[in-house]
Symmetry: C5
Subunit: 86 residues, 5 copies
């Protein structure tokens, strides 16, 4: 998984029918040589801007949504505790 920081919500009016109702956020990858890379993830946990999150990517992301038919390749699976240092 990847550690990332929530930047902002991403709004998309024209999108796949199966994605209607899902919240999307822009994330910035945290720390290390890959820092600063941007990615978009679905968020069903309710992460707020500025929070650090754990992001699961690939086919495993669909497992978070309990739906095998959805075109999603990244999803927030947890919010990193504020006092957790890395």
């Amino acid at each position: 998984m990847i550690a990332a920081k929530v930047m902002d919500s991403i709004w998309s009016t024209r999108k796949a029918d199966s994605l209607v109702g899902l919240k999307f956020v822009m994330l910035e990858v945290l720390g290390g040589s890959d820092a600063g890379r941007l990615m978009i993830a679905a968020d069903t946990i309710g992460a707020g801007a500025g929070e650090r999150v754990i992001v699961c990517t690939g086919s495993s992301a669909r497992k978070m949504l309990d739906r095998e038919d959805i075109p999603i390749d990244a999803v927030i699976v947890g919010i990193i505790d504020e006092d957790c240092k890395f």
Copy 2:
């Protein structure tokens, strides 16, 4: 998912039979340390050149097309609203 900008259509006369009829576009990854990377995605939503889109990659891309038998690893799943900043 990845945020990207639609550059141009990609034309391929000699291609897999299962891809006939699909529209392909060249995309440029937006923002962050991965910016400028190019990728090709299938587009069933009808994104125009210059529009910013959400791209789903990997096995999840096949879910957008409702076809498990198609050799596609990237597809546009949404168009980012024009007034959405990131």
Copy 3:
């Protein structure tokens, strides 16, 4: 998918039994910040050296070969038309 240029054939006498008879080519990724990366793909379309191709990667690559049991993660799915600019 990725746009790449066919460099050369790759010969491997000692390989997995399931790969016997498949043609492999070395590809160079085209354009953008990822340009110059090398990868090997199976080719069932018959692309020639110097041609620009569309490459599908990951589990979707197996869909091109209609065989679920084959250890292949990249395959040429189309040849980009010569007059297609990007």
Copy 4:
């Protein structure tokens, strides 16, 4: 797989129900041009901080946990012997 060094545990109180009880660690990729990249993996082997581990990513990571329904894309599958040089 990737060779990485265990940095620290990652704590997440608000996370997917299916992840409760799993231990997560921050890893730093070792050696080569990808060195320094950070990633988070599930650990069921009990690796300690400073140990070098083998990390399996993608859909294969779910095989380590014997659970197909879990949103995990990286897991420690082995601890590299101390006297193993690379």
Copy 5:
């Protein structure tokens, strides 16, 4: 797939039960802008140090081992002929 050079064997005494008996090697990615990246792959072909190999990654790697239950994401699928230039 990726072209890589076999560096050395990787020894791991504490590892997943399903991996016991498998040989692991450290590989260095060859050529192009991704050169020098290190990765670990399972080897069932018997590649020796210094040999150039074709590596298959992701879910397709499991196909090489005929076992769907194994946490492996990279495997050597062929040895590149010595007189093959690239």
